[in-house]
């Protein structure tokens, strides 16, 4: 199968890659670009572990093709911290013990960041519904929700 040449911006860097027509964006990120922070939990868009943003829109990278990313700006978990400074959501997840095994954490962080960019002051219910596409089996979500709400408050106060 021939390869397709794709030009993108990933976490602020210009990135070009070759991929086959049937490769998902998640496959490209993980297998071609070694950005393994995005996880494959289901490959069917049900678990959210592969969440990234594409031109600011939250997507499951397992549900789109790598070739479809041509010309777009992609943000993954690897681009969330600025150097050694964690994003307030990352810090809040640590402070609130919002992870146990941690495999769903990148997806939750990307999804929560997308929420707060749309709605800096979400209610608990809005947060729960926004994050309903991200599965966590360890925490029962309690500490995740608390962490997101605490980060939102922190970001509003320091904005």
């Amino acid at each position: 199968m021939s390869h397709i040449h794709v030009k993108t911006t990933i976490n602020g860097d210009a990135v070009e890659f070759l991929c086959q027509a049937d490769e998902t964006l998640l496959d490209v990120l993980r297998d071609r670009l070694d950005l393994t922070g995005s996880k494959e939990g289901c490959a069917s868009g049900d678990c959210g572990a592969c969440s990234v943003t594409l031109d600011g829109r939250l997507v499951c990278s397992c549900l789109m093709l790598g070739a479809e990313a041509e010309g777009s700006k992609i943000e993954t978990i690897e681009g969330m911290a600025e150097g050694e400074t964690l994003h307030p959501l990352q810090q809040a997840f640590l402070d609130h013990a919002a992870l146990q095994c941690g495999v769903c954490t990148p997806g939750f962080l990307i999804a929560a960041k997308a929420l707060l960019e749309k709605n800096p002051d979400p209610s608990e219910e809005e947060t729960r519904y926004w994050l309903a596409g991200n599965l966590c089996r360890c925490t029962g979500y309690d500490k995740i929700i608390r962490a997101v709400l605490a980060a939102a408050k922190n970001m509003r106060e320091t904005a």
Partner: protein, 747 residues
């Protein structure tokens, strides 16, 4: 009796909530899980799985697959040339790669290794298998009957009656007293039959491994597992390798809950690597995880309990029939042991039946066997309390097991925390909060044994006085933090001075799997003992430096100092100072401890749930949920709370939604997260965790395992709440909307 290890003390580090040492890696995407690693020249491994629930394999033709471009190895059972020495290992091999028969939809029949995923997919599709399809059986009660399709002949133990099918492998009985006599003393007897569906642990990370095995029998593996020593030992036994020549490194693990306590892909990955001469990486799809890993048992349970008007249980019996999938497991036995464990009973008798069916072999799932048993027992107790007009917490307190109680499964309890959880529940504002229309409140108790087992820890004092701690158990929920905290507590240094790593199988002695809620207990105990060992050496070095007797040296706040004025006047020597001159006082300093840890300390919990039942749809909403559980001593309370919350929510999913759905053809119909629906954030309220601390005599700090008990009470807690919300008694899980609606309509 187990040795008393516990001594009361004031804690400085234990009981605080520091940031976990693996945290930054996990919030930045740097942490490496099973599928996150590659090797030069690596091939992609893939499995061909049976589409049939039960069939004889007449022939497998791999020639077309082998001829495809990019295909470097194709293997079948014929490539597993070593015959395992014991039946248990032979069963594991047969589960990993089918022999003469396939026993469930998803059973592996062949595997390939190819240069790309597409090449592997094409190769799997090109393998031709000729099946002779056989009748199958999925339900436990059906499988027990004579005349049911038989999976494996000649496995039935002598204790199983002759009039039962060969699918019934074991019968185990527990209890004491004379239940028939006890029932005569009862004012009310309730007897009910319950059924629960099979569920899956639902860890978000699918199974994955990277394997290299040379023709010389030397190999390396990177595996997502709850126990890399188990992986090494099991693969070695299956393939006839020397365990010492196989080194296994545990990846970060993306959830397990018991489901990663055995092998599925690993032996096959090794055989593919040996045959192809290349490293082979295998990952399961979610479909494969559901069809071919280790879900839990489905059950059919009879419970009969007699009670006096004032709430005293006079007798109790239980018949626990569990299907464990296609091979022998002991969930039914564990159900029979645990169901009545919270109660002090004069007359009790239980029977556990373990049965095989044409489903994937059950693996452990968090307190395996216990949640279903508690669902049945706690439902009947709740119904008795309701019928007799008694408070359900008071009834449980009246019958609660306590120190000195002879447990229904045999032993006599040391200090336990069941009453403390019940008293805390009764006093909690949740228990007396008002309820609205269509709302109800349920309560239930749960028990789990906990476990200790083989454990090795090594604790190195580095030249700069920092500490490196090696343990051998994958960190599934924050255990590296807990180990660093316990080592720091014992040494008298800040937690950040101790870095804990999970060592590979070549770097420490044997370690039992991360299971049985054992790690914080057993590895913690070994960590404390290893620290004490290092302290003894450091005291000797200080004594040598000062020229005094070692008995005249004591260890205080991370430093050696003379024990009192008679010992001599010397300024304290810190770990750093002792470490800096270690080369001149006898060489490097390290402590270690190896133990088969006993005294794990049984664990109890009590849960309260408020539910609202929608009379139009039958949907059940969880409004409020509180967990009360004895942790012995919470080393890192945030992660203890996390265990309580996570266990409760898994139990809520089991109670309300989760279910393996098989078609008439024996094929799994819902092998994905869309149709096998685990709870999502919008389904739930906050889960309020209340930690009780009744010290475990068997641990130096009083620690009990906390990981499993949290999933035991929720099935019954939610069922009891639904019962009180809607006036219906549901005896079948899950309580999905169609079932609830039918019950509401009297169907």
């Amino acid at each position: 009796m187990t040795k008393v290890e516990y001594t009361p003390r004031e804690f400085k580090v234990v009981g605080t909530r520091p940031l976990r040492p693996d945290g930054i890696d996990k919030v930045t995407g740097r942490a490496r899980y099973g599928a996150d690693i590659s090797a030069p020249g690596m091939l992609v491994g893939m499995v061909l799985r049976s589409p049939h629930a039960h069939a004889r394999i007449k022939s497998i033709d791999t020639s077309a697959a082998e001829a495809l471009p990019g295909v470097k190895a194709v293997v079948t059972r014929a490539d597993f040339t070593h015959q395992p020495e014991d039946n248990a290992t032979a069963d594991i091999l047969d589960n990993c790669m089918a022999g003469e028969k396939v026993l469930y939809d998803g059973h592996a029949v062949a595997a390939v290794a190819a240069t790309s995923r597409n090449a592997a997919i094409a190769a799997v599709a090109a393998i031709k298998v000729d099946y002779d399809v056989l009748p199958h059986v999925m339900d436990v009660d059906d499988a027990m009957k004579l005349g049911a399709p038989v999976l494996l002949k000649g496995r039935k133990q002598e204790t199983v009656p002759a009039e039962m099918s060969d699918n019934v492998l074991t019968r185990n009985q527990y209890g004491h007293g004379d239940p028939e006599e006890g029932f005569k003393q009862a004012d009310l007897i309730i007897e009910r039959t319950f059924k629960t569906a099979a569920t899956h642990q639902g860890y978000i990370e699918p199974h994955a491994c990277l394997a290299t095995l040379g023709a010389d029998g030397q190999g390396d593996m990177w595996v997502c597992t709850q126990g890399h020593y188990m992986v090494r030992n099991t693969c070695a036994a299956i393939l006839g390798l020397d365990a010492g020549r196989l080194r296994v490194t545990a990846s970060e693990i993306g959830g397990g809950f018991g489901g990663k306590t055995t092998v599925f892909l690993e032996p096959t990955a090794l055989v593919l690597s040996r045959k192809s001469g290349r490293p082979v990486k295998m990952t399961m799809t979610r479909d494969e995880v559901f069809r071919a890993s280790g879900p839990t048992a489905s059950t059919s349970i009879d419970i009969k309990i007699g009670m006096t008007k004032d709430g005293k249980i006079t007798a109790a019996t239980g018949d626990y029939r569990y299907q464990n999938g296609a091979y022998e497991a002991m969930n039914g036995t564990l159900g029979a042991m645990t169901g009545f464990a919270p109660y002090d009973l004069e007359h009790v008798r239980t029977t556990g039946w373990d049965v095989v069916t044409n489903r994937p072999k059950a693996a452990a799932y968090r307190a395996p066997g216990a949640p279903m048993a508690a669902f049945a027992v706690e439902s009947v107790i709740d119904e008795l309390a309701g019928e007799l007009g008694l408070d359900p917490i008071d009834v449980r307190l009246k019958n609660a097991a306590r120190e000195g109680t002879r447990a229904a499964y045999g032993p006599t309890y040391p200090a336990i925390g069941l009453e403390a959880t019940l008293e805390a529940a009764k006093a909690h504002p949740h228990w007396s909060a008002p309820l609205g229309k269509n709302q109800g409140r349920g309560v239930a108790c749960g028990f789990w044994f906990n476990f200790g087992g083989d454990t090795c820890v090594s604790l190195m004092i580095n030249p700069d006085g920092t500490v490196s701690l090696s343990e051998g158990n994958p960190d599934i929920g924050g255990s590296r933090a807990s180990m660093s905290m316990m080592a720091a507590e014992e040494l008298g240094v800040p937690m950040e001075q101790v870095r804990t790593i999970v060592a590979d199988t070549a770097s420490l002695g044997q370690n039992e799997v991360t299971d049985g809620s054992r790690v914080t207990f057993a590895v913690g105990l070994a960590t404390i003992k290893a620290a004490r060992h290092a302290i003894e050496i450091m005291k000797e070095r200080a004594a040598m430096t000062w020229g005094i007797d070692v008995d005249a040296v004591e260890w205080v706040d991370g430093a050696a100092q003379p024990a009192g004025p008679n010992a001599g006047k010397f300024p304290p020597m810190s770990i750093g100072e002792i470490a800096a001159i270690a080369a001149n006082t006898g060489g490097p300093i390290a402590g270690h401890h190896e133990v088969n840890a006993e005294g794990a300390g049984v664990s109890f919990g009590t849960h309260i749930a408020d539910t609202e039942v929608d009379p139009e749809t039958g949907a059940v909403k969880i409004l409020r949920y509180t967990v009360f559980q004895d942790a012995g001593k919470a080393v890192h309370p945030s992660y203890v709370e996390g265990q309580f919350q996570g266990g409760a929510v898994q139990g809520i999913g089991w109670a309300l939604n989760e279910e393996y759905v098989y078609g008439e053809d024996g094929r799994l119909q819902n092998p994905g997260f869309l149709d096998y629906r685990i709870p999502v954030a919008s389904d739930l309220p906050m889960i309020d965790p209340v930690i009780l601390e009744i010290p475990n005599p068997g641990h130096p700090y009083g620690v009990r395992g906390v990981g499993e008990t949290g999933i035991v009470p929720p099935l019954a807690t939610v069922a009891n709440a639904v019962s009180r919300a809607a006036g219906i008694r549901l005896t079948s899980l899950p309580m999905s909307p169609p079932k609830v609606l039918a019950a509401l309509k009297g169907g």
